[in-house]
Symmetry: C2
Subunit: 206 residues, 2 copies
């Protein structure tokens, strides 16, 4: 079995293949870096069509990351996939909304998802905030509501819940909000997609 | 914004939609539970066609899980996505091949991926082993080689690396091996897919 073993070479070659297969479908440079990293993570070229990055998103995110911010994820998977070394260099911190015993207890008592309860706690953080929601539509609905109520002004919302119940609808709500956002319209998305988007932004800070 | 908030209800409704949209495409009961959970995790019905479960895989995996085994993942993301509560009830343990300072150091020195070096360490474990490879083709190639050399006899290989360089080829190699395996042919797969497969098996032990 002969195969490429060097991780850097594998990544470089992968991005070349993606660019080649996208063919005439091109993106502005920074948007392209994000979308190609999502395709790299999923091997699914549909993300070239469904990924929506609004006009404020990239500048706002890079500013927040460079100045140091708090990143909140809805799952431990999304948190696990984000490059901690680069985050640390930037003096940014990352937290998972559901990874907290108190949150679990309260969610059970109130019959809510842990991510909804975690979201309530996150909005109290006074630092610049980026929200990364790859799994739970309930967390994204809740965040949209807090935005409407003026309780939180995120510097970026990566809203890419995946699934069949509420995922599409929660992203449709995000699209109506005047906040910096990156989303994937329809049912597709997920924790790996969410992490890939944040990693693409992290690499742009360099 | 009206939406379903109860996680159990969301999951139940999701599986109903998946079954409905699969239409005349049906699977044997246990295979169906795995494949539908992968579709649930990705919102990608293509997994109904590309997921391959060999005849020994489910029995072998359930036996290993019920008796207590070691699960090795190639990424922290896959590890993060696997249900630890059920694993603990079963007296099974989970380890990540790359999450080790010694492995990092050695990989750098030898110019290899961390997952390849981690794999070398995993095969020394004397317990019953399940390998879960959702990202790194190099780890799956290495595992195939160790199987050929008689260094390891996994009770299950979940081999679902994603990507453009080596992913498809590494899975083609796995398909030729006489070991219990679950794979997704072609480029698609990933850490969320890998975790979904193990979770589906964990829920079948009950």
């Amino acid at each position: 079995m002969e195969y490429i073993k060097d991780p850097m070479e594998i990544e470089k070659k992968s991005f070349e293949i993606i660019t080649e297969e996208l063919g005439e479908k091109t993106f502005p440079e920074r948007e392209g870096k994000i979308i190609k990293r999502v395709i790299h993570t999923t091997a699914d070229f549909q993300y070239g069509d469904i990924t929506k990055i609004n006009e404020y998103a990239i500048d706002s995110a890079i500013k927040a990351l460079k100045e140091g911010c708090s990143i909140y994820t809805d799952t431990k998977m999304a948190m696990a996939g984000i490059n901690k070394r680069v985050l640390k260099d930037l003096n940014s911190d990352i937290y998972c909304l559901v990874d907290d015993a108190e949150v679990s207890k309260e969610a059970k008592e109130r019959g809510l998802t842990r991510s909804m309860v975690g979201m309530e706690k996150a909005v109290m953080d006074k630092r610049t905030k980026i929200f990364v929601i790859g799994n739970a539509p309930t967390a994204l609905f809740q965040l949209c509501q807090f935005i409407d109520e003026g309780k939180v002004q995120p510097h970026l919302v990566v809203g890419v819940p995946v699934g069949f119940v509420g995922a599409k609808e929660s992203k449709d709500e995000l699209l109506k909000r005047k906040v910096p956002y990156i989303t994937t319209v329809g049912r597709k998305g997920g924790s790996t997609v969410a992490a890939a988007i944040i990693n693409a932004l992290l690499y742009m800070t360099k």
